[in-house]
């Protein structure tokens, strides 16, 4: 059985939804953050991809596109010791308290 990200040929009768959504500000932020991290050699495309592919299948399927990128950025930065999981969790709580 193929991995969850390997979608080519997975059976579906779902039509293609051609509508587009306007990016939320945090989606602009995630997209640009990857660009900044790439430029600074802190994250490359293959690492971003690996971080996405390392998500559990249920989380992968339930996440939106930039939620998957967010998960991957976190995985890779923690793995490299650039940030710790605890400080991210703490900072996320502050974000939640102010703007959640």
């Amino acid at each position: 059985m193929p991995s969850v990200h390997d979608r080519g040929g997975m059976p579906t009768t779902e039509p293609i939804d051609r509508s587009s959504h306007e990016w939320a500000d945090w989606e602009h932020l995630v997209n640009a953050l990857v660009g900044v991290l790439r430029r600074r050699d802190l994250l490359n495309v293959d690492e971003l991809r690996r971080g996405i592919e390392a998500m559990s299948p249920p989380e992968y399927e339930a996440s939106t596109y930039y939620e998957r990128w967010s998960a991957s950025i976190e995985t890779i930065l923690v793995e490299k010791g650039i940030l710790s999981a605890d400080e991210i969790a703490e900072a996320a709580q502050e974000v939640d308290a102010r703007w959640g």
């Binding site: 779902e14 051609r18 587009s20 932020l29 900044v36 991809r49 596109y65 939620e67 998960a71 959640g100």
Partner: protein
């Protein structure tokens, strides 16, 4: 919901998912620690906004009007787009595939969303959707029909699967009735969809 309107991340007051909050948190930490500059993300956001399918359209229009350029574009896409001032990221190569009367190319990224953003801007939502990624490789003609593209029965459909290392751009067929049109006018006929292969260039 807070009344704090000062934070640039949150102009729209929609509830944030856990992953969204963590992304904002990561950004704040990276800035606070001096790992990235405070304005770097904003500057990339502005750069991303400047890229659109109009860039790819200029490349296509040049190829339609200059056979020597077209040859270079098909054989060494990276150098050819650089001639027009488009710099591709160093870790992903570009291949330009030509649509003809006999062969129609359709681009997908089954694994994720690889796309020539330097020439087209960010990919549309449908390109990243599970339905497109799953179906394009098994029933491309049905997918094309959903986009309103009906191909000649005799035309062969070739689906190309982009990867993180190699992205594809379709060189659509130049429509009839365009003799004598300028490069700028021709570029106006080149749509995003025609460069992904789900559509064809507009007719004048």
């Amino acid at each position: 919901m807070s009344d704090d309107h000062s934070h640039p991340d949150l102009k729209h007051h929609v509830p944030l998912s856990e992953r969204a909050k963590r992304a904002i948190a990561i950004h704040r930490l990276l800035v606070a620690k001096g790992i990235i500059g405070p304005a770097e993300v904003e500057s990339v956001i502005d750069q991303v906004r400047t890229r659109s399918p109009a860039d790819g359209a200029k490349v296509v229009a040049r190829a339609w009007t200059d056979p020597a350029y077209k040859g270079r574009l098909l054989s060494d896409s990276r150098s050819a787009v650089l001639e027009l001032g488009y710099r591709l990221s160093r870790d992903a190569d570009l291949a330009v595939v030509e649509n003809t009367a006999g062969v129609h190319h359709l681009v997908v990224c089954t694994l994720c969303s690889c796309y020539p953003t330097a020439l087209l801007g960010p990919p549309p939502d449908w390109y990243k959707s599970f339905a497109y990624r799953q179906r394009a490789v098994v029933e491309p003609r049905a997918v094309l029909r959903e986009f309103g593209t009906e191909l000649d029965e005799c035309a062969r459909v070739r689906v190309v699967d982009s990867t993180a290392d190699l992205r594809y751009l379709v060189l659509p067929r130049r429509p009839g009735g365009t003799d004598g049109m300028s490069e700028v006018e021709l570029a106006g006929l080149v749509t995003r969809d025609s460069m992904v292969g789900v559509g064809e260039a507009k007719t004048p």
